[in-house]
Structures are given as structure tokens and as C-alpha cells.
Point group: C2
Chain length 402, copies 2
């Protein structure tokens, strides 16, 4: 056996997202890519904003000496300062470059955060439905996963969290706007959560970190407000990415921000920077660090995504599906008309529609739609959802057949 | 305490390279950067080759649709094929894209390899003097480090390796051309090593991987030949980077290649790709993957580095230092005139010359020079080395005062 037990088990458990991707590739080979309506991957089809293209062209046309060299492991001070300024604009919290580390995307940032704080066996709470890679990231660094279900509205319940927190709890990961549900956690929840964590940490005699995974922070609809974590606990880190807001997922550029008043702030930052180095990221890619410095207030068209959400939400509810209306990100997480979400996902494949079963996110009985796709795909998928609804005798107002 | 025990201990043990970097920063603040001769970091001062600039400009001027999106976790098939073709040209071994994964630099590739193969407590042999981050990378994935000293010529001894290999040995990491010594491992050594590993693996009932860390493979002097590992064992992986050969260390672009006939080849590749994803690298940066595809046979000026090696080697030996002549990479690893290498490094700081003590590489009594610097720095450092030699009464032919 060439691979380790953990890796073999991880591969066998597999990622439902990847599995659907592979089944989709087979469908595409059989019917042609244009005849398959793939809503399985959060891989934005939109191009980066024009400002990004301009900035990249500017950097490459007039290359600065040494622009591809190593820089400090935390990243360019100029980029970190630009991120901090944007955070100040958004939150009013007095961030400086000393609170920011540039990372290889949010995935890199999360691994850096977990490596920095976890002793073997420490627990990290993850809220279901969850982004499945969280489980791998926690396991990477010897942590134990504790899964807490959210309510029917996909908002976590403080009582459930309180019950789950134990002596070994070291962090809670939240993700708002959420993948896979699209919900945004309300201010009141964050307030109660912050108070709970601070209270429990005092009882535990050690910090419990609130780790806010925020790659979709700038994708908020209906001119809604994004409630930030910062005023609710100082034991807080946010991890962000330009994969979605600037549509650069292949470039692996993001950042990690720590509350300026976090206890042990300087040791924590030094530890995070150390982990960025020893985990082999070394630093976030140099050219992309330079490019995003000037683009902190730029985002792809939120209106376009909102229109797509509206189209799909209307199509699904009119067809009789039960679905929570997303307030951000680019996912929908409807209830499967039958309990077996995998069976329903296979049924949708009959109409050449690709989605991911809810069990891939720790929540069977649902399915995830990623609507970062073009209009043609949306329309084709919409037709498929309607056909599947007819097959299961769904109708509006009588959504729950289960 | 906000950071984990392992991270705190790692930070306290510290990296001598970083420590020298920081002391250097103080010297520069005091005397001005131009008056400090910094040979402490392997951060190439040269710019990338003109072909890289042209290729990057070409890509950015005519952006292909979707060029910043996710691609398969292994990387673009076109780039992997280009890497494979170059490996075929260099080695004659029939590599294809299915043997290659694009990684976030060599540091990313090494972490992916170790994560993929190590069960908790498995041992990895590292040869001293060693690149110190190897120890962190092995620890990241629950492995145990076993250090084996090389001979006075910095070539490993098969007998010492044979003695060190045990039931739990899972891999040997070699690094040729070597950081910090600049030596290239001869074909005969690799042949004996391959045979040893295959023999011991059979006795162990499990594979022992030869992991060849080759970021300096294209920096070979005197028109020397680079002996490759591939004909000596099939249980082999090479990890390469464009940090040095294309002078792109900030961009984090490299690759991992597996022997096409490696036992369990497909499972191993799947495991490596899985680890590239779950370790949070996700994929090597997209734009750089595209840029390096056309540059696999391009390297920065080796002649320039060779001239720098010649200057420093001559200066040091003429001053009476005992030093092995490097055949590649851009490091020299002379003996310290006094046993206490840290004391000698501090002495050199009196002449505003920055180098790293050998104990940072597991080999006290030596010091490392990184000569990827400009002429002015070399000359200033040369003068400093001469002054320090006079102080310790070194003279040519009577090099060993210890």
C-alpha cells in the first residue's frame, strides 16, 4: 500500500462534489457539454472584473525589479495594509497590516489557522450543512471534528452549540454567507455566539476561537448588510479569499485577519506566519498579491448573481420544491422531494442536470445547486427541475411530500 | 496560550536562516543596506529570464476565457504534459502527464508527498547537512525524523544509511544539487541507494520511497552532468520548483513527478492529488502554471552563478578556509575556523557579512553562504572573509586550525 491509511480512507469516503463532477464528465462525453446542465461546482463562470485585468496588465507591462522574489512570509506590507484599510472601511474596527496575513486562498488560510492553534485531540465545532473540506483541514492538524446541526432555517442554535462545547473545544468555524445554503447569519446570532464562546473559554481556562470563513462576504443580495464577527468577540479570526469576489479561484489568493485586540495577539500572529511557512505555502503568490492590493473594494457583478438566484428560486418554488431563499453566495440548498438525496440526484441526471447530494455536506435529504453558471445552463437546469417535480407530483404550496 | 505546543516549540527553536535575516535587518538599519553584505538567504537577486517576461506578457495581453478559474487539482494537462516532455528529454524515462502534478513550489510538493505516504510514527531519513524545513514538513504529517550524517565530502555513506533504516522507515529525502553544500550526488551513490532501498523495502514488506528534492537541478556547473534517480529505483518521486531555475520564488510554482513504473502508481497519484487538495493548496497558481508550460527548457544564466562560485571559492581557499567546491546550486558550506560556528558568524557580522551557522542545517562547525547576490555584495563579503581569516591566522594550505 503506497498511500497512508488516512489518505486511503479519505479517498474512499470521497468528495460528493468531485464524484458528481466525474459523473458529469461522463454525461458530457455522451451528450455533449452543451446538453448537460452542470450546477455541481462552485467554479465561477464569470470573468474577473475589468479592473483586475487592467491592474494585471499594468504590473506585467512595467515589471518592478524583484517582483517575483520571496517577500516576508506574511506577504507584502502594501497588500496587507490595503486589506486592513478595506476592513476598516467595512467594519470600523481599527485593523492595521499587523493583523493581516496574505494566504494561498481561504483553504490555505484555514489550514494555517488550524495548524497554529490545535494541540492533538483539540476539538473544532463545524455547523451542518458544512463545506466538506473543513473535516479534512481539521484532521490535517490532529484535531477532532464535532458536528452541530443548524435549524430548519440553517441558522445555528445557541443551545445546541452550548451543549457541544466541551473542555477540549478550541474553535468554532462559521461560514456566512454559507456554502451550501446561501444563508447569512444574523447579528443577534453572532452576538450570542461571541458571548457564549467568551463565557465557555473562561470556564475552560483557554481560548475558544471564532473562525469566520468569509469567501462570499462581498456576495450579498438585496442590498443586505453583512453582519461581521468583530464586535462580538475579540478571540476572532476571519479568512477571506478572492476566489469568488474577484473570480480568481485558480490563483489561490486570500487572506487571514485577526482581531486587533485578540488576546496574545502578537504571539498568535507570529504563530500564523510560522505556519504559513512550515506548511509549505511559504507565501501567497507574489504577482496576485500585488494585483489585489488595488482591488480591495472591487467585486464581480452581484446583480448578475442575484438575477440568477431569483430565476432559480422562483423556478424551484413554483415547481413545488421547498427551499430557503439565499441572502448571499451562489448556492441553493433545496429539500430533496424524496428522503434519499442520492436517488434524487441520480433522477436529475436523467434530465442531464448535475447537482450534489446534501449528504456531501453532512445533511442528507437536501441537494446543493451552485448557480455560478451561464444563462443557458440555468434554463436547461430549470426545465430539468420542473420535470423531476412533475415526476414526484410536487406542486406549489404542497411542497413536503416526505 | 494561543498557539499550539508544537508551533510554540518550533518558533522557539527558530530558524537560523530567519534569525540571521533579522539580525541582518538590524545591521542594515544601522549601516545602510549598501554597507551590509548579506549572504544569508537563498532569494535569487537575478530577474526571471526574458522568455518568462515575454510569456507572461503574452498571456496577460490576450487573456484566454476562464484562465483564472479552477482547473483539475493536478494542474492543467498542457502544463503537466510539457513538464513530462522535458523530463523525457532529460532522462529518457517515458514520463507522461499522468506522472506529474503541479504544486505550490517544492515546499508544497514535499508536503503533498509526505502527507500522502506517512502513517503516524513512520520514519523519514534526512541527510545532514539538511534544509531545515524538512524537519517541519515531516512533523506536519505525523512522521518521525531520522537524521543521518554525510561524509566529510558531504556525500552520504551507504553503510550509515543501511544502519539507519528500520521497520518504520518510509522514505529517504535527498537534495542534489544540495542546499547548503552545493554538492551533486554521484551516479554510483544513487545506484547503491536505489538498490539498498529496494532490498530493505522487501525485507520491511512495504515501500521505502526515494524522494528527490531537486529545485537546483538545472543549476549545474562546469558543464557537469546531473545524475537522476530514475534508473536506480522505481519507488521514486522527484520534487522540483521554478523558484531557482526561473527565479520565481515568490510565485510558488513547482511540480512533483512519480516514476512511471512506480508500484501502485495510480493509487499513489490519486493520493497525491487528493493531498494537494485537502492540504489546502487546491492547485498550483493558475497563471504561473500557464506561464511555465512553455519554459521547461529555459534556465537563468548558469554561467553567472558559476562565476560567482568561482570568485568566492577562490577568495575563501586563498584566505585559508577549508571548503568543498560546489558543483551546483548557489551555496558554499565552508568549515568555520573555530568550532563554535555561531561565534564565527557573529565575528563575520563585525565586517557586516551575513551568513548562517551550520547548526541551522544540523551540522555545527560550518557556515552557509548563499551567493545568489550581486557583485558588490560578493566583493564586500570577500573582503570580510579575508579580514576574519587574518584574525584567526588562517593561511592557504594550513586551513585546519581546529
Amino acid at each position: 500500500m503506497s498511500v497512508s491509511r488516512v489518505v486511503r480512507e479519505g479517498m474512499e469516503a470521497g468528495s460528493w462534489i468531485r464524484r458528481m463532477f466525474e459523473e458529469g464528465a461522463e454525461l458530457k462525453a455522451r451528450y455533449g457539454a452543451d446538453e448537460v446542465f452542470d450546477l455541481s461546482l462552485g467554479n465561477p463562470l464569470v470573468e474577473p472584473p475589468a479592473q483586475f485585468r487592467d491592474e494585471l496588465w499594468r504590473l506585467v507591462s512595467n515589471p518592478a525589479p524583484g517582483m517575483h522574489r520571496y517577500m516576508p512570509n506574511a506577504g507584502y506590507p502594501e497588500t496587507r495594509a490595503a486589506v486592513a484599510e478595506q476592513l476598516v472601511r467595512e467594519t470600523g474596527v481599527p485593523f492595521t497590516l499587523n493583523d493581516v496575513i496574505m494566504t494561498c486562498g481561504a483553504a490555505g488560510g484555514l489550514n494555517v489557522a488550524l495548524k497554529a492553534i490545535l494541540n492533538p485531540g483539540d476539538e473544532v465545532i463545524v455547523l451542518a450543512p458544512y463545506f466538506p473540506e473543513y473535516l479534512c483541514y481539521i484532521e490535517n492538524h490532529g484535531g477532532a471534528v464535532s458536528i452541530v446541526a443548524t435549524g430548519d432555517d440553517f441558522i445555528p442554535r445557541i443551545a445546541a452549540l452550548e451543549e457541544a462545547i466541551g473542555e477540549r473545544t478550541r474553535a468554532v468555524i462559521i461560514n456566512s454567507p454559507n456554502n451550501p445554503t446561501g444563508v447569512i447569519y444574523p447579528e443577534e446570532f453572532l452576538q450570542e455566539l461571541g458571548a457564549l464562546l467568551d463565557r465557555e473559554a473562561e470556564a475552560n481556562g483557554g481560548p475558544i476561537f471564532l473562525i469566520s470563513d468569509e469567501p462570499y462576504r462581498h456576495l450579498v443580495y438585496d442590498e443586505g448588510i453583512y453582519p461581521a464577527i468583530w464586535s462580538h468577540t475579540r478571540q476572532a479570526m476571519a479568512i477571506a479569499s478572492h476566489s469568488k469576489d474577484l473570480a480568481l479561484p485558480g490563483e489561490r489568493i486570500g487572506y487571514l485577519a485577526v482581531h486587533p485586540e485578540c488576546p496574545d495577539h502578537d504571539e498568535l500572529l507570529a504563530g500564523l506566519i510560522y505556519c504559513n511557512r512550515v506548511l509549505g505555502y511559504v507565501n501567497a503568490p507574489a504577482l496576485m498579491q500585488r494585483a489585489v492590493a488595488a482591488l480591495q473594494s472591487v467585486t464581480v457583478s452581484v446583480v448578475d448573481y442575484q438575477r440568477k438566484r431569483d430565476f432559480l428560486y422562483r423556478t424551484l418554488t413554483e415547481a413545488g420544491y421547498s427551499v430557503t431563499r439565499p441572502a448571499g453566495a451562489f448556492y441553493l440548498f433545496p429539500r430533496s422531494p424524496v428522503e434519499d438525496d442520492v436517488a434524487f440526484v441520480r433522477e436529475l441526471q436523467q434530465y442531464r442536470v448535475l447537482v450534489v447530494p446534501g449528504r456531501g455536506f453532512g445533511t442528507p435529504g437536501y441537494f446543493r445547486i451552485a448557480y455560478c453558471v451561464d444563462e443557458r445552463t440555468l434554463e436547461g437546469a430549470g426545465a430539468g427541475f420542473k420535470k423531476a417535480a412533475l415526476k414526484y407530483n410536487l406542486s406549489p404550496g404542497t411542497t413536503d411530500k416526505r
